[in-house]
């Protein structure tokens, strides 16, 4: 049976599609740019609901540093619009040409830049959304500070479209830093890159991102600095004095290096990609222990300052059925959590990708019931 494709171009149209589905007991798998569809449990339920037609910048006020955009707008368009006025949304975005702002917000994606710039959640001012029963509502506003009513916009950040479909979102934007530098060092595996990263972070409060990359027995440490060039040059000199000369990345290529990094870890090309989150102080220990327990060499991108590691494994070398038992997260320090972000379809069918334990599930179910009482959105794919 082929499923119908639903592609509304207006909020009214979307609302009536959802209302009908709610009345008729049908469901949807919601998509924006389609770049994160591989994340989550394999589900055969629901027709695709494509939001990318609800697109475009609604209101951009450079002097107020605010922008209002429709949820289906591609990140590249937003980046270009803001860039004309020297402004940006200071977050990492994989595949910006395809990724939509609504999708990015729904996934709660946060890359290495989170260390210095925070997440999209920090920038949300308000939004409009369609609940699972078709009700269209808004919350928040378009001013940079607002405590009028409950924080539904931030609740929807990272809710994976399970509560509501975003239709427009208002954000605070920031000036693009006047300069940036990326430094990269090869660190022998015998040296503790995590300790070095910690020292850098303690000594340079304005570091925007620190990354440890491991692949094929090699380890590198990458540092991103953003700010005004005078202060950056001093900090670069200080870092080189401490850590030695670096494999230089020209300043003009700095942001391209990070884009490439974000893209490389936004799919796994048939491998299994595990994301691990722990308290930053335990990050090194946890990453090592995870590798040991799975007994497979990983390609890893680790953000030690925020305690997040993305690790790619050969899918054939690990068994889905015993995966969570093998990892035994509860015996790791720092309240370690993990999810399987990407995996081959068949591999995923043998596992709950969201991990063995989501705390507060009962309350989450109550929230879900209020927003999407009949389970119209994303059945089978999520933790709820």
């Amino acid at each position: 049976m082929t499923s119908s494709v639903y592609a509304p171009v207006s909020v009214t149209e979307l609302s009536s599609m959802v209302r009908d589905a709610n009345d008729q007991g049908r469901s949807f798998q919601v998509r924006g740019g389609g770049t994160a569809l591989d994340i989550g449990n394999a589900s055969d339920e629901g027709d695709p609901l494509d939001i990318s037609g609800i697109s475009g910048v609604i209101d951009y006020r450079p002097a107020d540093l605010t922008i209002s955009v429709r949820a289906g707008t591609r990140m590249a368009e937003i980046r270009d619009t803001l860039g004309e006025h020297g402004q940006e949304l200071p977050v990492d975005v994989p595949f910006p040409a395809e990724t939509t702002i609504g999708g990015l917000m729904a996934c709660g994606f946060a890359g290495p830049r989170r260390l210095g710039s925070g997440t999209l959640k920090d920038l949300i001012l308000g939004c409009e959304y369609v609940r699972g029963d078709g009700l269209v509502a808004k919350a928040g506003g378009q001013v940079v500070k607002n405590v009028s009513g409950f924080e539904i916009p931030r609740l929807l950040h990272g809710s994976w479209g399970a509560l509501a479909v975003l239709t427009s979102i208002n954000f605070k934007v920031t000036p693009i830093p006047k300069a940036e530098r990326t430094l990269i060092w090869s660190i022998p595996e015998t040296r503790d890159a995590f300790a070095i990263a910690r020292d850098i972070r303690q000594g340079h409060p304005s570091v925007t991102a620190i990354e440890i990359e491991r692949a094929n027995g090699k380890q590198s440490l990458v540092v991103r600095l953003m700010g005004r060039s005078g202060a950056l040059d001093l900090q670069v000199r200080d870092l080189v004095d401490t850590l030695g000369q670096t494999d230089a990345i020209p300043d003009a290529k700095s942001s391209a290096w990070w884009q490439d990094r974000n893209d490389r870890f936004a799919s796994a090309g048939g491998d299994v990609q595990l994301v691990v989150r722990t308290r930053p102080r335990y990050c090194g220990e946890v990453v090592t222990e995870v590798g040991k327990r799975l007994g497979v060499a990983a390609r890893s991108a680790i953000s030690p300052g925020i305690g997040v590691a993305r690790m790619q494994f050969d899918a054939d070398a690990i068994d889905a059925a015993n995966f969570w038992q093998q990892l035994d997260l509860s015996s790791l320090p720092g309240g370690t959590e993990a999810i399987v972000e990407f995996a081959p379809e068949e591999w995923k069918r043998g596992i709950d990708t969201w991990g063995p334990h989501v705390p507060g599930r009962e309350l989450m179910q109550a929230v879900k019931t209020q927003f999407d009482p009949k389970g119209v959105y994303n059945p089978g794919r999520l933790f709820i």
Binding site: I39, G40, P62, A63, D64, G86, G108, A110, T119, K121, D122, L135, A137, K138, A139, G141, V143, V144, K145, N146, V147, S148, G149, F150, E151, I152, R154, L155, H157, G158, S159, A162, T174, P175, I176, P205, S206, G227, G230, A231, L234, Q235, V275, R277, R279, P280, V308, E337, I339, W354, P359, G360, L363, A366, V367, K368, Q370, F371, F383, I384
Partner: protein
């Protein structure tokens, strides 16, 4: 349950010393920091001061079994009536739960109980080069739990963000006495972001008993600059100019002439007495960044007609410049016995327009209005000065308030930037939200608190939450003064 029996049960949980029930002891809990007349007052049946999560749980379970409403309270410095008692309900005052449980200088986090005072947390971590960034003006008294409930701001949230940006997780006692830990959603971790929903929920979703906060590293250099202007319009335009040029000061505050008249003779902060408006601009960061930004700020201020420009690097000088701003509310007593402090927000570029409108309202109602506020955020704090002993003055203030709020909403603004809705602005919610918007908010309340036991009569306008608390009679100020828009 009979009142005496209820008191005995509560005393069995926390000990007799920590249950307040005499009318004289309860009086203070009928108030918060709001202006009298702007929020409805109500007397609780009892006030309980627990020392632990376990005691909170037992109190909440007792209230749950008996169908008694519960209001959580910190220091009572709130400005919208959020912590004011529910008639006949129990107030759980969390001020005795004031332990800093753990400080982690490497991860830059602290685990604290809700009764920890905001400034005391920053003082406790100062030796590590860290601070807790949200800094409401009441920071010497207000509690972290209250900050979480109200999503408090402060002068430095321009750069550092409001409370929600600094909360990583919460321990919450739910209305039925269950205890949960909420996390922050990111990359699919932790499910829904229940922490985000909790912050700013004004005590209506759950009672926070532990808070995991993010600590912020202090920057190597902080500099405060003062720029004086001949008109508020020029000062407002300078604010827009500074931000639009790509600068991000750590604070950008405005003080008008009426406020200068109140503070300068007492605190000698060095604000020119003849200035129509003074900007305080604080920048922090790497010394070179601070230097470059200061040059930018100075040239922009002069371009917009600054008559005086000074800067201070030393702590003593900086504190003096800040003193005029921070003590402004206290100094208002020199001008009038009462004030009504507003908290509307407008887009930053509409500041000049808004201030003109405020001036017109002041003239029309013959009501002095002082302005001392977070200009960088567009967060206004008009202070209406009056004497409530004068018959008709309070009514005049409430009428002028209605016009002021409507004006800001018409300019694309919000009802509250950092003080919350509480009972004070409940009646105004329909100015900015549709019935469907409010229905969805009520749905979220329903998910957390299906029986409507926690702070039942706040934030949402009447009729949006079904209450099973039949014995209660409550009327908002808005209803009494007929200011609910029809």
């Amino acid at each position: 349950m009979e009142h005496a029996h209820l008191l005995r049960e509560l005393e069995a949980i926390v000990g007799p010393a920590y249950v307040r029930h005499r009318p004289i002891d309860l009086m203070v809990y009928e108030y918060d920091g709001s202006v009298e007349g702007a929020v409805e007052l109500a007397s609780p049946a009892a006030v309980v001061l627990p020392k632990s999560t376990d005691e909170v749980v037992r109190i909440v379970k007792l209230a749950w079994d008996e169908g008694i409403p519960v209001v959580a309270r910190g220091a009572g410095t709130g400005l919208s009536g959020g912590a004011v008692a529910q008639a006949g309900g129990i107030i759980i005052a969390l001020t005795r739960m004031d332990r800093v449980i753990d400080i982690d200088p490497i991860d830059r986090t602290a685990l604290v109980e809700p009764g920890v005072i905001n400034l005391e947390l920053s003082e406790a971590v100062a030796h590590l080069g860290l601070f807790f960034a949200p800094d409401p003006s009441s920071q010497k008294a207000c509690t972290i739990g209250g900050n979480v409930a109200e999503n408090s701001g402060g002068p430095h949230c321009l750069k550092y963000g409001v409370t929600t940006n600094h909360i990583l997780g919460l321990e919450v006692v739910m209305p039925d006495g269950n205890v949960i830990w909420t996390g922050t959603a990111q990359d699919g971790f932790s499910g829904f972001d229940l922490t985000a929903a909790m912050v700013g929920s004004e005590g209506m979703f759950g009672i926070v008993t532990k808070v995991l906060v993010r600590l912020t590293p202090k920057q190597p250099l902080t500099r405060v600059m003062l720029a004086a202007f001949d008109s508020m319009e020029a000062a407002s335009n300078a604010v827009t100019g500074i931000i639009a040029a790509g600068n991000l000061p750590s604070a950008l505050e405005m003080v008008d002439n009426l406020t200068i008249q109140a503070v300068e003779p007492v605190y000698h902060a060095g604000y020119p007495m003849d200035a129509a408006g003074v900007l305080l601009i604080e920048v922090d960061g790497h010394p070179l960044d601070v230097e470059e930004t200061s040059v930018d700020v100075e040239s922009i201020c002069k371009q917009f007609g600054a008559t005086t420009f000074r800067q201070a690097d030393s702590l003593v000088e900086r504190d003096l410049l800040w003193k005029g701003r921070k003590m402004a509310l206290a100094a208002m007593g020199r001008l009038a016995p009462n004030y009504y402090l507003h908290d509307t927000v407008v887009p930053r570029t509409r500041l000049a327009e808004t201030l003109n409108a405020v001036e017109q309202i002041s003239a029309e109602y013959k009501l002095p209005i002082a302005n001392v506020f977070h200009a960088g955020d567009g967060n206004l704090h008009p202070l209406m000065l009056f004497d409530r002993r004068v018959s008709g003055d309070t009514e005049k203030v409430l009428e002028a308030s209605k016009v002021l709020i409507q004006t800001c909403v018409d300019l694309g603004g919000a009802l509250s930037g950092e003080h919350g809705i509480g009972t004070e602005k409940r009646g105004y919610m329909t100015l900015v939200y549709s019935d469907d918007d409010l229905r969805a908010m009520a749905g979220l309340k329903q998910a957390f608190d299906p029986a409507n036991r926690f702070n039942p009569e706040k934030v949402l306008p009447k009729g949006f939450v079904c209450s099973d608390l039949k014995a209660l009679h409550f009327q908002t100020m808005a209803d009494q003064h007929d200011i609910v828009p029809v």
